[in-house]
Amino acid sequence: MVDTVTRRIRVEHTMGTAISIDLRDPDVDPASIEAAFDWLRQVDARFSPYKPASEISRLGRGELILDECHAEVAAVLSLCEDLRRATHGVFNAWACRPDGRLDPSGVVKGWAVERAARQLEQAGARNFCINAGGDIIARGRPQPGRDWRIGIRHPRDASALAAVLDVTNLAIATSGNYERGGHIVNARTGMPSEELLSMTVAGPSLTMADAYATVGFAMGNAAVAWVAGRPGYSPYAVTREGRVQYTDTFAALLASADRD
């Protein structure tokens, strides 16, 4: 007997990248996917520093004060501040863009997608995978009997993988400069990071995984130990010399070779 798997995939381009939602629950209303995208578009309109009319841009220009902004803006900025302290300034939404513009992008994407995932759960979804430009939330299972199989892109070869993971109920975020050039900058030095080719972080919250991956990448070779010190999050880093470093916790996520 052949198992048929219902799979609903929707891809939308927003927040400067492509976001795909892969829903495996047959009984969940597909309108919930549309609602999730609506939410993401709303976040883009409100938070994008590249849109001059967004609240973040207007806040940055001094046209708005924080009290006049939507409550979410305050929530995101407070998250940014927490991260700034936790990373001693390596992540700094107020100083990561050289022209001094406020840019919470390192946090917003993960936070928005995590919210979207929660919305889907509230609509009854238990098994889905959201991929927002390389940052992933994997919930449940793609089909009974196996976990979500996630590949980590090889930093040097877009058609190859560096590692393969079998995961469930996990968030995975990867950071690197190989797609966009030197856009990830260590806010302390102001220079693009060059020590690592890519940095992947797995953990319970995509917001934090996204932030830690970005910070970790900017930090360079010291990142693996730093992320390893964050309870619940495990790192996988590819160095410039082509070596990979990861912790035991991450090793537990790696797909075993015999299951292909």
Partner: protein, 466 residues
């Protein structure tokens, strides 16, 4: 009273010269070319090793990669340009000034195109990758990447230098203006250096690549220092040259007799030239490539020039006592190139100068030397008595071809295939040395080719005013 006379036999003297020459001639032209190519390959290999070929996924990545490669190759080529124009005597002896100048011209345009490509590719590649417009990305690069503003100024200067070197532009500029503007190329190379190390993806993370790049610059800098400053200063101090006498030879033509110390140590062969810097109030900052018009001796150097007193040539204000600095000797137009036992010397106007010196170094066999001297008027013929005595002593022949082309007396060009065949029936068996105005030399090239003189027997002395 008896005294022991020490005799320095000619043989011994020649030996020591040859030994001295042998010690210097360690690298050949081929070695230099090999060195340049190997380093170019190293630069490209460095880019490949850093993953240049692997990151060609998206259009923006391809453009960025192209931007990196053109930057590396273009800057390397600019450094080679410095080497070409370093006025190193031994480079010029191996490649000839006209060869170096020709290479310099083509490479110069190449460098400008490569750097222009680098700027375009990098800006567009980054723009595409970041989702900005090209203008916005350009602004971003200028204002937020270290030293990029300087590098942009450098690019502007480079373009200015290239544009003013196009033939169209050179015709509109005086030589002095063109020369002055051309010097900005040095400034351009210096200004770009900062951004190469600060932003160049090949250097920010690879210390060895960084040191190699710095080493290239240092090596070139030392070259410049040694040959543009060190060598001339050393020669000036050593020889202390002064204009001793100015002798008119023909209307507008004078011979300058320059005296000094240790003249024989200048080691110039007949036919070679020096770059002369006459330390006058207005002319001190430029050099002139003039050949010696008499073989080297220990009493004086003689150069015969046209246009002294002519303001545009920069030779005004010359008088006995004017101090002179020289660089050199340069040039391949020497008796060393002689392969056959007989020679034909073809002089056009003031081109007689190096040929006059050359005569004395040709082995004096009977009929070994034939001189064809072309001039517009008899008054323009210089060294007539000297030449006739020298040729007579060597049992050679002089033919004068005097007259202006296109006049009723001389409707056709006296320099032609038929004339040459008639005057010099065995021209294919001779080494032919030609020196004269560019148009005349071009005509001679055609004539000699038509007659069938083998290429390796044809020697031209071209003065490119650099």
């Amino acid at each position: 009273m008896s005294s022991t006379v020490r005799q320095q036999t000619p043989g011994r003297r020649a030996n020591s010269t040859a030994q001295a020459a042998g010690r210097r001639l360690v690298f050949t032209a081929g070695d230099v070319i090999l060195l340049v190519i190997i380093n170019a390959a190293l630069v490209v290999a460095m880019w490949v090793r850093h993953g240049g070929l692997n990151q060609l996924g998206s259009p923006s990545a391809k453009l960025t990669a192209a931007g990196q490669l053109t930057a590396l190759v273009g800057t390397y080529a600019a450094l080679v340009q410095i080497l070409l124009m370093s006025r190193s005597p031994w480079l010029e002896r191996r490649f000839g000034m006209d060869g170096l100048a020709r290479w310099h011209r083509w490479l110069g345009f190449g460098v400008t195109i490569l750097i222009g490509a680098h700027v375009s590719f990098t800006t567009t590649g980054y723009a595409l990758g970041n989702g900005n417009s090209v203008l916005a990305e350009a602004w971003n690069l200028l204002t937020t990447y270290p030293y990029v503003l300087m590098a942009t100024a450098a690019t502007g200067l480079l373009i200015m230098v290239a544009v003013t070197s196009l033939r169209m532009a050179r015709r509109r500029l005086t030589w002095e203006t063109w020369r002055f503007l051309h010097l900005y190329a040095y400034l351009a190379i210096a200004l770009a250096f900062g951004h190469e190390l600060a932003v160049g993806t090949d250097f920010t993370a690879d210390a060895i690549a960084r040191w190699y790049w710095i080493a290239l610059y240092v090596a070139l800098g030392l070259c410049l220092l040694a040959f543009r400053i060190g060598h001339p200063v050393r020669m000036s101090l050593r020889h202390q040259l002064k204009v001793a006498q100015i002798v008119p030879e023909a209307p507008g033509v004078v011979s300058l007799y320059v005296t000094g110390r240790e003249l024989d140590q200048l080691q110039a062969r007949a036919g070679q030239y020096f770059r002369w810097r006459f330390l006058t109030r207005d002319g001190w900052w430029r050099t002139h490539p003039f050949s010696l018009s008499a073989p080297l001796n220990d009493r004086f150097l003689r150069l015969t020039v046209k246009g002294v007193g002519d303001d545009s040539r920069g030779l005004q204000g010359l008088h006995p006592g004017t101090r002179v600095a020289v660089e050199g000797p340069y040039g391949l137009f020497t008796a060393k190139r002689q392969r056959r036992s007989k020679v034909l010397l073809v002089a056009g106007g003031i081109g007689i100068t190096p040929l006059r010196a050359l005569i004395e170094e040709i082995p004096p066999k009977k009929d070994a030397i034939t001189l064809v001297y072309r001039a517009s008027r008899w008054e323009d013929v210089v060294f007539r008595e000297e030449l006739e005595k020298l040729i007579r002593d060597r049992r050679g022949t002089i033919h004068y071809l005097i007259g202006r082309r296109g006049t009723p007396e001389l409707p056709d060009d006296p320099l032609s295939v038929q004339t040459l065949r008639r005057l010099v029936p065995d021209v294919e068996l001779r080494d032919v040395f030609v020196c004269g105005p560019a148009s005349m030399m071009q005509r001679m090239q055609g004539i000699l080719r038509e007659i069938g003189v083998p290429e390796q027997q044809i020697h031209f002395e071209r003065f490119a005013l650099l």
